[in-house]
Amino acid sequence: VMFYRLLSIFRRQRTSPGWQNWSSARNSVSVAAAHSIALPTQTQVVVCGGGIMGTSVAYHLSKMGWKDIVLLEQGRLAAGSTRFCAGILTTARHLTIEQKMADYSNKLYHQLEQETGIQTGYIRTGSICLAQNQDRLISLKRINSKLNVIGIPSEIISPKKVAELHPFLNVHDLVGAMHVPEDAVVSSADVALALASAASQNGVQIYDRTAVLHVMVKKGQVTGVETDKGQIECQYFVNCAGQWAYELGLSNEEPVNIPLHACEHFYLLTRPLETPLQSNTPTIVDADGRIYIRNWQGGILSGGFEKNPKPIFTEGKNQLEIQNLQEDWDHFEPLLSSLLRRMPELETLEILKLVNCPETFTPDMRCIMGESPTVQGYFILAGMNSAGLSFGGGAGKYLAEWMVHGYPSENVWELDLKRFGALQSSRTFLRHRVMEVMPLMYDLKVPRWDFQTGRQLRTSPLYDRLDAQGARWMEKHGFERPKYFVPPDKDLLALEQSKTFYKPDWFDIVESEVKCCKEAVCVIDMSSFTKFEITSTGDQALDIMQYLFSNDLDVPVGHIVHTGMLNDGGGYENDCSIARLSKRSFFMISPTDQQVHCWAWLKKHMPKDSNMFLEDVTWKYTALNLIGPRAVDVLSELSYAPMTPDHFPSLFCKEMSVGYANGIRVMSMTHTGEPGFMLYIPIEYALHVYNEVMSVGQKYGIRNAGYYALRSLRIEKFFAFWGQDLNTLTTPLECGRESRVKLDKGMDFIGRDALLHQRQNGVYKRFTLFILDDHDTDLDLWPWWGEPIYRNGQYVGNTTSSAYSYTLERHICLGFVHNFSEDTGEEQVVTADFINRGEYEIDIGGHRFQAKAKLYPVTSLYTHKHRKGEVELSDLHGK
């Protein structure tokens, strides 16, 4: 039947003639017209969406051997955003995972015509990203370094070279550019049709004009879909509905939150030039001018990302295909000006059309893939931030791997749906945030950038107090966290001016906060951390936790254990601290953005046992971190209890009174390696405890501090953070945490076999600390993360985080070192010896800095600067 369907070529009626006739492959794909052939009643997988995402997922699933797949499209195949896509495929992306996806897509589309016989219009034109200023050039150099190490050719070129590569580009205002010669243009609609055709050959059944109404769910598991043509039972559902993915997610009885929102997007098509433009003319991305320009049928296609985007469909208005939305020339005016500035000769070129095609954006500019945290078997691939064509192949592959193998072959946490929660799904939030995100597509991306919209959603009860004291805020998972505190007498640069790749303006402020942590005591509001409580009537909680966590949790009551929550491969699903509150209850502290992921993981693996309770208590506690040598004094004065290590050893947890407030959970750890305490305070006491701490602390020199100080402290102490340094593909053994794994704790735990294997055979990468040697903090580019690491001139990995260590007065980078075979490129075992024997360099924006590699934290070189006779009166001032 499949084969018959492939042969029965479905002649589609072209209802919208005009410029789309550049897609040539219209007629060669078989589509089962739903009105003539009844839907199957049962299948393994239903893919919803016949755009490039849906067809790519179906294609890759069928390639991996899954055959029982139904693809449903509410309109016609490749008729949504895919049809209107500008057709530019570029690997010049900021994230390595995005570069890899685009690279894979490029290779896939390149051979697609050969594989399917369908013309895709693939032309390898190359692309040129222009830099109008030095900051942009730095940004391009950083991308360039990353592209090169994963084998994508690219180079930084001079304006003169740019002029040689493109016939009529005005280059006088350029400072440089990046050329990526293997980038391409392709007709995305035809790619989607080709993928659909190949999938169809592999057995995928495709039905157009069939709309999914909602997904049927039983006991948190997908059981089927309800369509306008009947029901289909299935185990897996893939939501590739593009800009309708949000609505579709909400249509379930148990809603799946997929935070994305559409904005109108405009590009211009012209008639051919008098001497038609060569079809291999490179694509131009002029981010400072907010535009892209590609050749199109002898003329040009040019669009961009304007500063004042127009969000659309906030109310969730659905329509089968994106009908011709209004052309808005006035809105396009700045981009047109920019285009004519870049290519003045185009003045006389005749306009063909201004196309308005909505594009979908996500709250953090990264696409959304993965499995729903609430509904098993419900997968999502959507929210492409107008890079659907570039990511389509790679993203489809990763999602297919995820479904078939349980996890993708790369770490995709940055793209995982579970990085979001229900809190990012408010329509108002999305509408406001995408208005910020869309211009950001072409804004300069500098380190430590915070979104400005959709803020102050989750706040600690101390927010106003801290804000009044000069706190500057960053947001994680909707939670406001202080970055640092601006002293009353100090002014920082305006937001826009403070964007820099170099030394930031808060350097001195954070220095004084760090110093205070080292010498006296600081208080940091860390309420955003995810906090769970697990209790049971008997030993059930202990038993399941021993199985879920790699460390031994059968410790005396009151002890705190640092442990990983590992997957079968031994990789970190979560890295947390667990306090045993009583024989039968545990308090679990995880990173802020683990709220959804960790919950889903626990729910998935915990038996349905009515005698065991899992509760998210994040909102119940305000967490204050008292860091510094005098924290002991502050707490003992507030509690009338001795807090010295004899009475309160490290990694210990006790409920005690602080000030008038009773029942404060005090834990002797600080997440930084510095001495001090975490206080977990029931929120109604938060203000009281904070006020008491601050007033008693005054004589010990207490002051507020923020996350930047915390980060500097933890990185110089070689503390890895999940989500930044650690991910699902890194194991405890790879980051020197053997001590946190109890392979012999007497019972099995998830990931144990993999770790045993690793212990036997060695690790293939190793978490390493680098101290930059010849780096001038004031003058050189600062490291961020993702910088390539070179060992003896060979690329061995990328950094994962970095910070300036005020103690060492050096920059510290953390990252994984691999050992790629020089001959085959295969990964080999990394030994301590291998690490220690190398000469290392870190590539920051094209400049390599020498670095010392360490496998263990540097013992504090910090000495008290105050010597006798040097004490000043100002030291007596409160901080």
């Binding site: 211009l268 012209t270 209004q326 052309e327 808005d328 020339w329 006035d330 396009f332 005016e333 047109l336 000006s337 285009l339 004519l340 185009l346 003045e347 006389t348 070129l349 005749e350 306009i351 063909l352 059309k353 201004l354």
Partner: protein, 562 residues
């Protein structure tokens, strides 16, 4: 509105003549006339001279505002209606100071002048929802007189629902408009109060307990209240509510807003009149109540409660509703009638109220008794009291009053007073979702701009969009360069919208700066605002504007409920 410069309209066709504002330097003859303008003895000559003068100047878009109250005053009048001593000398002294303005204001300076009096109020939201049918309002005023004679008020009724907004245009000084602006809303609020609330308030006063607040004012810092008269005003107001309490028949019928508005207007005017007749032992207050009574003010007041909008108008300020049609365009719906000579029914009313033999004299040259432009107003006892009463009050009044030519002057053909009333005409309108905003403005705005333009400008401002026909390429041959030129031009037109954060400011910018194409011309704006104080009144009147924005969602919800 200023009284002094006299019969400006004589010999000068209004709006068709112009002063040489837009020539780079003012020609000598005009300079010489500045002091003459003040010397009203010579005003007739001026008028003629001015006319001749303009013949050879061909500017087209300037105009003369009309003085509302025409009278040939004695210089001494100045001490009555303006605080400056010896303005005669003052203007003489300014003879050389007011030489041509060679410098023009920069855009920031222009903005600081335009924004000096701007005020915005946003109705607070509860739980993210504003349940009031009013989103908020923007207001602003631009003086031409020194000091400005316009006033504005805005307040929320605390014991009843609804919001009050009003503009007041004073003449013969600002005393009356000031008094009305601080007192009228209290009279209205009291008129709207149910019997029990009145009793409660009266009992509180009686027993010295804290009073229920009645009004929440929304004031610009420049909007002041008179401290000295506060007690006096309160006593009059209390007498009013005591009478309301006594009059109450016991049936607690729903208070009729229209009736309440009319009663409040009439009562306040009556109190103003009484206070002047009775006088006050305190000489300052005594003088104040007389100044209030002898000067005048028009009032245009809106009361918004849910979808019920009442406009009470006395005089020639105007209330205009901005309605957005389905195609997005704007249309203006007038919610008040001007009480002046252009209004047929007003002419009719005046004629009916007086004997037939006065038919010719009651309105002359489009003015009441040949003097006053608005046909209804607060104060202005010269048009209300009998000649006897006027003489008696003036004689027993303070010397300043006695020496004043204007107060002593009795209007000609003054046979059957009163000729003037403060009774408002009340219009009711039930708000619909397409009613987006209401503009209350004094005639200073309406005489410079057509109502349709006013509504369009505010509408486009509030929706942030210029209603320009969208461009479509269609089948035409258009090059990128041509399109770019067209778009740049359209953008320049729009850019003026974004300069202002206040709809009223934006409107004033247009009213003062519009060129013949209907777009703001900065040079023109700058010149207009650079005019010296004593000249400004020649080119424009005080302008006061309140723009009330309605909440279409709430209004729509009201509609759906029924």
């Amino acid at each position: 509105m200023c009284v002094c410069p006299g019969p400006r309209r004589i010999g000068i066709p209004v709006r068709s003549s112009s002063l040489p504002l837009f020539s780079d330097a003012m020609p000598a003859p005009t300079q010489l006339f500045f002091p003459l303008i003040r010397n009203c003895e010579l005003s007739r000559i001026y008028g003629t001279a001015c006319y001749c003068h303009h013949k050879h100047l061909c500017c087209s878009s300037s105009y003369f505002p009309q003085s509302r109250l025409r009278y040939t005053p004695h210089p001494a009048y100045a001490t009555f209606c303006r605080p400056k001593e010896n303005w005669w000398q003052y203007t003489q002294g300014r003879r050389y100071a007011s030489t041509p303005q060679k410098f023009y204001l920069t855009p920031p300076q222009v903005n600081s002048i335009l924004k000096a009096n701007e005020y915005s109020f946003k109705v607070p939201e509860f739980d993210g929802k504003n349940v009031s049918s009013v989103l908020g309002f923007d207001s602003n005023q631009l003086p031409a007189n020194a000091p400005i004679e316009d006033r504005r008020s805005a307040a929320t009724c605390l014991q009843t629902r609804g919001m009050l907004l009003g503009v007041f245009d004073g003449h013969a000084g600002c005393a009356c408009s000031q008094a009305v602006s601080e007192r009228l809303f209290y009279y209205i609020a009291v008129s709207l109060l149910p019997h029990e609330t009145l009793l409660e308030i009266e009992n509180a006063v009686e027993s010295g307990r804290a009073l229920l607040p009645i009004l929440q004012w929304h004031k610009h810092p420049n909007d002041y209240f008179s401290k000295e008269a506060s007690k006096l005003y309160f006593n009059s107001l209390r007498t009013y509510w005591q009478e309301l309490i006594d009059l109450n028949t016991g049936e607690s019928a729903d208070v009729d807003v229209k009736e309440a508005l009319i009663n409040a207007f009439k009562r306040l005017d009556n109190d103003i009149s009484l206070e002047a007749q009775v006088g006050d032992p305190n000489s300052f207050l005594n003088y104040l109540v007389l100044r209030v009574a002898f000067s005048g003010a028009t009032a245009c007041v809106a009361h918004v409660d849910g979808v019920d909008l009442h406009v009470a108008n006395t005089g020639d300020s105007r209330a205009m509703l901005g309605v957005q049609e389905e195609d997005g365009s704007w249309s203006a719906v007038t919610l008040s009638n001007d009480h002046n000579a252009q209004n047929e029914s007003e002419l009719e009313r005046l004629k009916l109220e007086h004997p037939k033999n006065e038919a010719k004299s009651v309105v002359k040259q489009d003015r009441l008794l040949g003097l006053l432009m608005p046909f209804r107003a607060f104060g202005d006892v010269k048009f209300k009291w009998s000649i006897d009463l006027q003489k008696r009050v003036i004689e027993s009044g303070p010397d300043q009053l006695n020496d004043n030519e204007y107060t002593k002057f009795i209007p000609p053909n003054y046979y059957t007073p009163p000729y003037l009333t403060a009774e408002p005409e009340v219009t009711y309108h039930r708000l619909r979702p397409q009613d987006k905003f209401l503009i209350l403005a004094t005639d200073g705005l309406w005489e410079t701009m057509h109502r349709q333009d006013v509504v369009r400008i505010v509408g486009e401002y509030l929706t942030g969009m210029h209603h320009q026909q969208p461009i479509a390429v269609g089948g035409y041959k258009v090059t990128l360069g041509q399109m770019h030129g067209l778009l740049t031009e359209r953008r320049t037109k729009m850019s003026s919208v974004f300069e202002d954060q206040n709809a009223a400011t934006h409107l004033i910018r247009h009213a003062v700066g519009n060129n013949e194409f209907g777009t703001v011309d900065h040079e023109r704006l700058s010149k207009m605002l650079s005019l010296p104080e004593e000249l400004a009144r020649m080119y424009r009147d005080d302008i006061t504007i309140i723009v009330v924005q309605f909440n279409s969602h709430v209004v729509g919800a009201y509609q759906n409920q029924e």
